[in-house]
Subunit: 358 residues, 4 copies
């Protein structure tokens, strides 16, 4: 359903072509300094870039309906509303009859019937991810009390892959300075080329977001089922277009020997660390004090301008479909802050559950 | 925590060196034909093979404590107990002081303190996965009413990769006939070589389990958060050693163009299908009627006999550790039926939630 | 927290003196005919009466933010927003220092600290019950498909008690025709006298709401813990001022013999019925096909104009407090439709869980 | 379903005539001193008395299957198994055809069909309450760390009512010294007379359990829905035979004026207290620091030896039924420790959720 979390709960609602979309964050302690500005700052990072994104602009203005008074949380659930601008939704009607490949149109129509609101993708719209960003802004503020910080970046777009490693502080600095949200200017340049080539071809391209969280205490996670990986992957797969999640060495671990994969322990500055981090900071579903690291695979944007093969559900025969409108040729740059937000929310929930956060 | 699921709930408990382990499956309808034999048959598929597995044998005898009378479910929660055989646990004490690399010892000790029961891995033991298999046996029986079937197989072990595609019926037949749970005799042979080489080196090796489910109705899944991918990945990451999960094209999608990745719709025999299945049978978090397909990456077994670098937590200094006992050089063959069981449980839960199962 | 329910989920948020209050109902099937008018009609039943209620009027205009398009549910979560009118909140500041007896001021300040928003009672305001009424309007529409109907009435106000029994159809007709929501004109008259006497004395008075639901199938309820009584009482006690809930003979059962209390079975018109209904329609936590009947005790309104003894939390000494403003001298008449709404929500959830509702 | 709680979770399973019954308590911190003796001591308080109880004796021996090693909790879920003794279940078959008045037979058969295990009441058996007592023993140990203590007593049995008030320490001392669990020897004597009279008449009698908890911090409870009253009443109504729950003045509040019901604040020994406790220690769903007080109404035992009117479900006609076996003529004395256990469990869960318990 539309609520996730245990000690912190996130509810999302609305559709991209109704009055607006909204998230409710329940479980946030009273007395935290959060303003509409705190949330807006994060939302702005999700906006499409002129250079490489869709030319359709949404203002995405955060309006606090509940839970924050005079810039402080009250302990009541926090509700953030983002009003939709007036949009012509008529063009979506055809998709009831001819579902778009790669979109949820067909299964959603089968599940909800004629009453399903598929304008703009309805409740399956990528627009819903703005709500995860808003919730993430609140969660980041909570985590800051523990000195836990989260940063993500575009690690690959199409064939442009960033193989370098980056310090955490570099990440934060770099990704805000290029529209691709890459970790270095050179990577950004290569990735931009991929995106523009896809756009020029009336096509789209996929990519990978890598996410890192530092400062986590040891022992976050609630076995047997509520592991760090399990809780993160559940929310990550709710982000439209995500097709894979891997932690640490991930799928590479499948080809490794144990002697190579096991991270040896060492003492550095009086702290227990591991010399490598193939585990991605997690053992037995629990944080082990090393940086949490994981990758998220995004498929290429489903909406492309090239003609596609589909079917006419009324006449039950093959047909061709051409999707108008303007779309992001690559969703990855805008997804970076969404992955950060989802991660921050899950970590705040798990830290609260484990008694690390009051 | 130790309970998962919504309309179906699975609770696991016990540790590998206490009296036993147990699972409770709540939400199973009354009147289903299930015997201890039904469950035992599945549990037997998880037993280590003489050829390629650990030489330590557990009987894993399923004992129904509740919910089944005279071979039929009663509607009450089903409890299955698996008694532990008497085991010498003394050797585990050293790991309180010198944690094993790749195991949960260190974070678990930090989380639970001195009272943590780390004998045999405690509640982090791979032995707990027998409970997922037991729950899976029940779920498979439920799904059979919908003609939904689940099959998994070892798709890769180390560098031995099975690139072929297999019909569903072949899968079921083949995997039961080789100890590796590979989909063809030739793949089994190549994988066996990898496992035996690792064992000979006192080492271990990872791999990939591929899972397929057919017969699912369109529209299974509960957006926004309870997507098919999200619900599956959550339970899959609770299986010890899982480091990655991808659906359909998965991480390959990151390098694809939209025109290549979008699965075109077609009408075949009066049914809506897609010509390719890069989506892995899921769009917008909902099943689309195509086979559900996903891969699960397993790291190499953490317990190896080669000497490893660790630390002495009491003296806070580096030390060497050698782990005795006999361990599976590769967990993948035994994990195949675990992945099947986890998948069946999640699908039964989602089918019940969606009103597809009574 | 602020979410309740399993297959149907209700989330409430907002405070009485912020921008507004809102409820989200998740789990409602697509294709149901519901308009803002459907909801408004129920909300209007909660409005204070000129004759016996507070002179402060709230418009309580329901605004659908999500989940209903063109008068039909879409399957997405339904969000209903009720905007607060501009209110002078300055008078509430004093209650931070001198908590009102019978209100949540003191424990809420201890729990949430200085950031707690106690204007108008904050999230403890009786105004939040409008959201239960709105959710109830949706639930009643769902239940109508099963021919399940819910009706409540004022059974007692102060010493005016209605000992008569009433047919279900009379209930619906009568309660809408008097401001007290009594089941007969004579009862209404006697209760009005109690209310006006309390008001004249600058005081308030309590009462009992009796609720009946008919048409329920046999076997609704999910043992062991999710009994009909348990699920109902949980939401009923969330209604401010509720102090007791009893089913069927309730507390009178404590004085009865088994031979008197057990309801004998009989066959009437080919249906199994019981000759009496001391069970209130529930056995073993399950509906038994007889009318569901229960009573809810409401304490007198906490806000009274007479001077009360309280303490100054800053100086930690006794002090006197006089509460201004205009308040309902009795909350019972307005609570009748709230009890109906809460009941309808729980029954819709349980009917959906039990497979009685699609 | 069969799991309840949020930060603490209790799962119950089994039936009275299968292998046994079991509870699982998840969320208990590691390092707590609990032995089988701790649990057995509480279970023994639930045993029937020779004088006034059933002559059927169950040993109710607690066996810890998981979560406690060497007398200390490990942080893993705690499982307690109580084996059933061999019982002749043949006599229950008739109730499939002729349901017992006041029992769950009829609705359970309609819900679960022929596969329902109604031997001994199946999962509706009063025997399941032993599991609440066991969970309560664990919860009481947790609460002891906060100096929170819970005590209940028989406040009324039939027409024998104990109108006196009792100090908390007296309660603990007195109730253990008489089989009725009354708060004074004289009350015990009067209640015993009621019970023996009912037994002599082949009948049964109901009663009221009053429960008190002291030492609770201010602010326990999680609005809007997870109020102290709501959480308590939900589990209390899962206890078979409970028909009503009221807090503080409860149903008496319905007849009171606000000036009489509102508890005035005062400062005593530098602490904020209220002069009266009509609120029963709860305001706005939160504890206010005063003793938590509530009453629970129990109906008379449904099994009586007198002949009763029932129906033959096969022939759909009226018939007479006589129930053999030996039953408690009054369930109240044995229910006292069950109410205590349920209360302790809820309070431990809420204290943990509120951050009062680590």
């Amino acid at each position: 359903m539309n609520t996730i979390g245990t000690s912190m709960r996130l509810t999302v609602l609305g559709t991209s072509h109704g009055p607006g979309i909204e998230c409710i964050v329940d479980g946030c302690p009273a007395g935290l300094d959060i303003t509409e500005g705190t949330i807006q700052q994060e939302l702005d990072l999700r906006k499409p870039s002129d250079e490489i994104g869709t030319s359709r602009k949404e203002e995405d203005r955060a309006e606090v309906l509940s839970g924050i008074v005079d810039g402080r949380t009250t302990g009541a659930p926090i509700a953030i509303f983002i009003r939709n601008r007036d949009v012509d939704s008529s063009k979506y009607e055809v998709f009831r009859r001819v579902p778009r490949p790669g979109h949820a149109d067909y299964p959603a129509l089968m599940k909800y019937g004629e009453s399903h609101d598929l304008r703009g993708g309805g409740q399956f719209s990528g627009r819903m991810t703005a709500l995860i960003v808003a919730a993430g802004a609140i969660a980041k503020t909570m985590l800051a009390k523990l000195n836990v910080r989260v940063a993500a970046y575009a690690q690959a777009i199409g064939s442009a892959v960033d193989e370098e490693s980056h310090s955490f502080d570099d990440l934060i600095a770099s990704t805000r300075q290029n529209p691709v949200r890459a970790a270095s200017p050179s990577a950004a340049e290569r990735m931009k080329v991929e995106i523009l080539a896809a756009r020029k071809a009336g096509d789209s391209v996929g990519g990978i977001v890598k996410c890192v969280a530092i400062g986590l205490p040891v022992g976050v996670g609630e076995p047997f089922f509520d592991t760090v990986e399990g809780e993160l992957s559940k929310i990550l797969f709710a982000i439209p277009a995500v097709k894979g999640v891997e932690f640490g060495a991930g799928f590479r671990a499948a080809r490794m020997r144990g002697s190579e994969h096991n991270d040896p322990y060492a003492i550095v500055d009086g702290r227990v660390v591991t010399e490598t981090n193939n585990a991605g900071g997690i053992l037995g579903g629990l944080t082990n004090g090393m940086p949490l690291e994981f990758d998220v695979a995004f498929k290429p944007t489903a909406s492309i301008s090239a003609e596609q093969r589909s079917v006419d559900l009324k006449e039950m025969k093959s047909t061709a479909l051409r999707i108008g409108g303007r779309h992001d040729p690559c969703i990855v740059p805008r997804a970076v802050v969404v992955v950060e937000g989802a991660t921050a929310f899950v970590l705040a929930d798990l830290c609260k559950r484990g008694g690390f956060l009051g």
